[in-house]
Symmetry: C2
Subunit: 206 residues, 2 copies
DNA sequence: TAGATTGTTAATCGATTAACAATC
DNA sequence: TAGATTGTTAATCGATTAACAATC
């Protein structure tokens, strides 16, 4: 018996719900409603209730949702109730910014290893990390049991790096290189490319 | 008479088509087909043809699409046939990485100004830019006629910065701060938050 | 109790795909 | 001409919304 099939578009909204709820909790809030959450996110209340109902019953009629409880539940659903170690490939400007980024706190991730192929970068200290030689990447990642990686190399190297990462057992890739990457079934990839986001807005501007 | 209403989800795919086509052109290619483009992007050929047909007829039966011609046309549609100046607010690790980023070349954007509120950062050189005092942000952006901005401040400052940017005439915002931002009609916003992307993948991992 | 809000169903709306005539 | 591929239509599929009984 497999896990109930949930549309990926629903899965994609859960992290946004979680982020908003965590911010409410930081603000000392205890209870929220689908309506309030929807207003914050620009999503209809009905959709939030429908999305959550795919995974269980987390609210109380007449009252709403307990913020801490719903946070816990969504963290369990998304498997971020514990931290995932991350390998970063590419110690350029983006890779360095990620290695120093504090924003993964409480989000379920922590950078563990950073790699580069450039002799001048290998051995350098970036934040609390020392840049490792990417030629030993596969073994190092296997050894550490890391399952999630970020690619911050130039586009030309990205597919090759992805192939190696998959060989090393990586199951999820966040790709900052501006190129589409082919991956086998069972591996997941997401893209971050600021130009893509910007172009989506300039369409609406003159 | 207004411009024909195109679904935003279609607009959102055009930048991906453009990026793939530009890469093909770099590789010296002249012609492609909806099938080839679809395979590269993991999208059906029918969808690509349908999307493009919303804007005109760009292909030739039996032959396919001229890569340079289709690039030109999509650039016109997305309004990236010329470069947009960008203001970056926040000169921390992410803002600095963006200021040094070479990836906006040929994508329709160039960083023009970078701001921070921190006295220790103001006046510092980052790449080819000098960090400006964000207290003078509104006038500087108005003066320069900049319409697109990126927010790379901490979450606590993001909404306030967005409000100021809009006052300064900014129409499109790419927000790296991990928080939802409220904007008035006629202003567009996109979000980049690596944790959100990562959580969308860990759902599928054990 | 009265008011509020959930979880869920059915209806609506929109997006994707399959198929094919047109034609290069 | 034969083969290939577009642009478009109609059918299918999936996502969103509206509405409301249940109930806290």
């Amino acid at each position: 018996m497999t896990r109930k099939q949930i549309p990926d578009i629903v899965v994609g909204r859960l992290p946004m719900y979680l982020r908003s709820l965590q911010r409410m909790k930081q603000d000392g809030r205890q209870i929220t409603s689908s309506q309030e959450l929807g207003e914050r996110l620009g999503i209809s209340a009905a959709q939030i209730r429908k999305d959550l109902s795919q995974f269980g019953e987390f609210g109380k009629q007449g009252t709403g949702y307990s913020i801490p409880y719903l946070i816990d539940q969504i963290q369990l659903i998304l498997h971020v109730d514990h931290d995932w170690d991350i390998a970063v490939v590419g110690a350029g400007d983006i890779g360095s910014a990620i290695a120093r980024y504090k924003g993964f706190n409480n989000r379920g991730f922590r950078v563990k290893l950073i790699f580069d192929a450039d002799e001048n970068k290998i051995g350098q200290q970036i934040g609390e990390y020392v840049v490792q030689d990417s030629h030993h990447m596969v073994e190092a990642i296997q050894q550490a049991g890391i399952k999630v990686a970020m690619i911050t190399t130039p586009a030309a190297q990205a597919q090759g790096v992805a192939d190696q990462l998959i060989k090393a057992g990586i199951r999820g890739i966040l790709n900052y290189a501006p190129i589409s990457i082919n991956i086998p079934a069972g591996v997941y990839i997401q893209y971050i490319d600021p130009s893509i986001h910007l172009q989506r807005m300039t369409y609406y501007l003159e």
